[in-house]
């Protein structure tokens, strides 16, 4: 089964960490995590996202496009990146989420990729 790990963290915490330790030191655990996912053969894809303030949110109402400045959900913790992994079941997905470098400070939402083939 494929699961998406949606990574939510406080952007300010991330920027502070980069300031203190430098970009490479901040990135090291993320590189290590991605590598571990790859080595285990479970990585499908994964990308970091730019800060929430760069987001634009689009909706169409009455045929008219509306664009809002900022992310759809405006909270202290922002969606900062994602992984898609392919593992046998939820327990293994949860175990990978637990190892994510953001887990000790932020939140990792684990969502199955919808499968309509058997429906």
């Amino acid at each position: 089964m494929q699961y998406m790990l949606l990574i939510f963290d406080d952007e300010q915490v991330m920027h502070n960490a980069i300031q203190e330790a430098g970009f490479e030191a901040y990135m090291a655990p993320w590189m290590g995590y991605s590598e571990a996912l790859q080595k285990a053969g479970v990585m499908v894809s994964g990308e970091p996202l730019s800060d929430g303030h760069t987001a634009s949110t689009v909706s169409v109402r009455g045929g008219k496009r509306e664009v809002q400045d900022g992310p759809f959900i405006d909270s202290k913790e922002q969606l900062g990146g994602f992984y898609i992994i392919d593992v046998p079941n939820l327990d293994e997905a949860l175990a990978w989420a637990e190892k994510c470098p953001a887990a000790p400070t932020g939140y990792v939402e684990v969502r199955p990729i919808a499968d309509f083939s058997g429906a």
């Binding site: 089964m1 699961y3 046998p88 327990d91 199955p112 058997g118």
Partner: protein
């Protein structure tokens, strides 16, 4: 234990149904479909077995009945849904293979998975493992049948759609997951104790875990707790709650009490103390004290101290205060109770215990006020009747 053929048939049918449900859902990952597949066969077994006796292999009987029904179903329909032939194939395979380990344990782990809302775990377990109908479960949690049904459906859908595995959890999370199973059974046990009687169900589930995980001392403690409750209510619960000290030990089931004692001794030998063992030990001290006319009050106080050190809770603190009061130390009891005052405002036993302490200290006005709070907070009619009888007595005096 029972020689009643109807009860024996029902027990065997439930046992077998749960085992097969575990096997089936492990293969398909779909609880609802597995329940559907077995429901008619289970109903047929409940009708047939009391007359014919329990078949030699109950599992094979149920599987064959389930398979026959689904083959008919497929034949009847012009276009069979894609899932049916697959289901028949699995049912056939299962009836050929002999089950080695107990898949019911897997069901318990699924129902109490950390990804399932804690509040629905015990109801889910009762329905999935025991086949308890929603109409029995809902009132125990003070919910309407429709609301409970909706929550159960949602939980089963989550199990399927999120890919929660039907395997035993790995070593690294084993303890935490087993604790969640025991906690859910305890919830069913204490709910049963308060309202409509899920005692037998909780006892069955606790015994199931105990047999499947004999190295768990806490599972033994939980079985002992359930046995004690069963022993004290051999004829079901009375309309008005009666405190232990006012009951007649001649009415109790001594065989069950002794079984609980034996389990507690075994558990103590394992040297893995835990909350349920200590609660059962407290129960044991009360029961044996009352039955044999022994003064066990000091032992109860000591056990509460150990319980609070291991697993502090508002309920434990109230019990400790009541034990201190019982031992003639109302002032210390009051101080203990005051320490949880802000956290326990909506907790009925807090106010009931406070009322008893105030009464012992001669503070009648405070006692009356606390008793009113307790009566207002009680959801269990039998406890409410009991508290009202105390109020009526004290206003007469």
């Amino acid at each position: 234990m029972s020689t009643d053929p109807r009860a024996a048939a029902e027990a065997a049918a439930k046992d077998s149904r749960a085992r097969l449900l575990g096997l089936l859902s492990r293969r398909t990952g779909d609880l609802t479909a597995a329940e559907d597949a077995l429901s008619d066969a289970f109903a047929a077994a409940l009708q047939t077995w009391p007359r014919t006796g329990v078949p030699q292999s109950p599992d094979a009987w149920l599987l064959t009945a389930a398979k026959r029904r689904h083959v008919d179903e497929v034949r009847k329909r012009s276009s069979a849904s894609a899932g049916e032939p697959e289901l028949i194939r699995i049912l056939t395979e299962l009836s050929e293979a002999s089950a080695v380990d107990d898949p019911r344990l897997g069901l318990l782990f699924v129902c109490t998975h950390p990804a399932i809302d804690e509040a629905i775990r015990a109801p889910l377990m009762l329905q999935v493992v025991l086949g308890a109908p929603t109409s029995t479960i809902a009132p125990c949690w003070l919910m309407t049948e429709a609301a409970m049904a909706q929550r159960l459906v949602r939980a089963k859908k989550k199990i399927k759609d999120a890919g929660i595995p039907f395997e035993k959890p790995g070593e690294e999370v084993w303890h935490e997951r087993l604790t969640a199973v025991l906690d859910a059974i305890y919830a069913a046990l204490t709910i049963g104790d308060q309202t409509h009687g899920l005692l037998d169900e909780a006892l069955y589930l606790a015994s199931l875990v105990h047999r499947a995980v004999p190295r768990s001392a806490e599972a033994k403690g939980l079985v002992a707790l359930a046995l004690q409750q069963r022993a004290l209510h051999p004829d079901g619960r009375p309309a008005t709650f009666l405190p232990l000290k006012d009951r007649n030990p001649d009415d109790w089931n001594n065989a069950l009490i002794e079984r609980a004692e034996g389990l507690l001794r075994q558990a103590a030998g394992q040297r893995q103390p835990g909350r349920y063992q200590l609660e059962a030990a407290i129960g044991s001290a009360h029961i044996i004290g009352q039955r044999d006319g022994r003064d066990t009050r000091a032992a109860v106080i000591e056990l509460y101290r150990r319980l609070l050190a291991l697993s502090p809770s508002i309920g434990g603190r109230c019990g400790y205060a009541a034990a201190l009061l019982d031992a003639g130390q109302p002032k210390i009891a009051l101080a203990e109770l005051r320490s949880i005052e802000s956290a326990a405002q909506a907790y009925q036993p807090y106010w009931a215990t406070l009322a008893s302490i105030h009464r012992a200290l001669g503070a009648d006005a405070e006692a009356a006020e606390a008793l009113e709070r307790a009566i207002a907070l009680t959801t269990d009619p039998s406890v409410q009747l009991f508290l009202i009888s105390i109020r009526d007595q004290s206003t007469k005096n």
